[in-house]
Symmetry: C2
Subunit: 202 residues, 2 copies
């Protein structure tokens, strides 16, 4: 799996642009792959060579390995949920504001369309398995490991999908006015607040 050729990167970007544009203008369901292909100046076949499914334009999950490692690095004497929680906090809590310009548009589209939310969960399945494996390797019962991973991932996914509805002020303190037109929301802050709810209640 060599690094993608420059030409391939360009077409991929063209597809992504065309798709986001059409999705936002006429909706995800009303947009066909043929339309995307035409707008990008390519064929349907080429579309599927760059994205395995129509969903894949919007859904991707690049964080798998980091999370599993971070979870494994937490102290072994913690309860499984707490271990996963702290691991994800370490791996995701410091991401900061969203870097990719298309990320916000993608999230907004996914959040709008219920069927796509399911695709996101499908994409996190691999992450869930990675976390579970890491815990089971340390002697945690498979049932407990799976449940802990699913709970934390569910919380984070849900948090991610509320981001388009969120203003930055929602994250610090309810009641705070918050200047309008705030910039790209801080992904790390959202995740942190979500995982905070799963933490021990002092």
């Amino acid at each position: 799996m060599a690094t993608p050729t420059p030409r391939a990167q360009r077409t991929r970007a063209r597809i992504l642009d065309a798709a986001l544009d059409l999705f936002e203008r006429q909706g995800y369901g009303a947009t066909t792959v043929a339309q995307i292909a035409e707008a990008a100046g390519i064929t349907q076949m080429t579309f599927f060579r760059h994205f395995p499914t129509k969903d894949a334009v919007l859904v991707s999950d690049p964080y798998d390995p980091l999370i599993a490692r971070a979870v494994a690095d937490q102290p072994r004497d913690l309860a499984p949920l707490e271990r996963v929680r702290r691991g994800m906090l370490v791996a995701l809590g410091t991401i900061g504001p969203v870097e990719d310009a298309t990320a916000v548009r993608r999230v907004r589209l996914v959040a709008r369309h219920p069927a796509l939310r399911a695709s996101v969960v499908a994409a996190t399945a691999e992450t869930e398995r990675a976390i579970t494996d890491a815990l089971v390797a340390d002697g945690v019962p498979p049932f407990d490991a799976t449940v802990a991973a699913a709970a934390c991932l569910g919380a984070c996914t849900a948090a991610l999908l509320t981001m388009p509805d969120l203003t930055a002020s929602d994250l610090v303190d309810p009641g705070d006015p918050g200047d309008p037109g705030d910039p790209a929301p801080d992904l790390g802050a959202v995740i942190t607040r979500a995982l905070h709810q799963l933490g021990p209640t002092p």
Copy 2:
């Protein structure tokens, strides 16, 4: 929405039987709706009149309203997560052994096929919204409500899908021998154990 006619109930049952049979024999992906229809002695069209999608034969979620009500009934001064957790415990913890004979077969098939796990999550989306609405109506911030609901539902769904791998002995105490050939697993016990992990750590 009147109660379904006896004839409709029979065809629905025939479809379900034929589908489960084919899925188990040759796999979900390798089975076409046309095959199911032929095995059930009906048309493709009739299949889709009884089940909106191919997935729907395996995925259903009848517990929505009970859960939302039970969550709303928990004391308002609890943290959102704890409220959802106790509500779901009340609504689902006492279900007991699985009643429907086909339920175990369905769960096994879903657990095996990754794409179907996503369908399950899609099916719980409505439940998640119901729980969230109940909390928001009591003044809980939407973000916190969504996260709490997603975490608990994620944990329960994951727990459900591990059931085929589980023997009853796994639920009581690791290390317990447990007689082989144990009967249908206790759904309530599985849910209870899953939600227990999300509870306050004393």
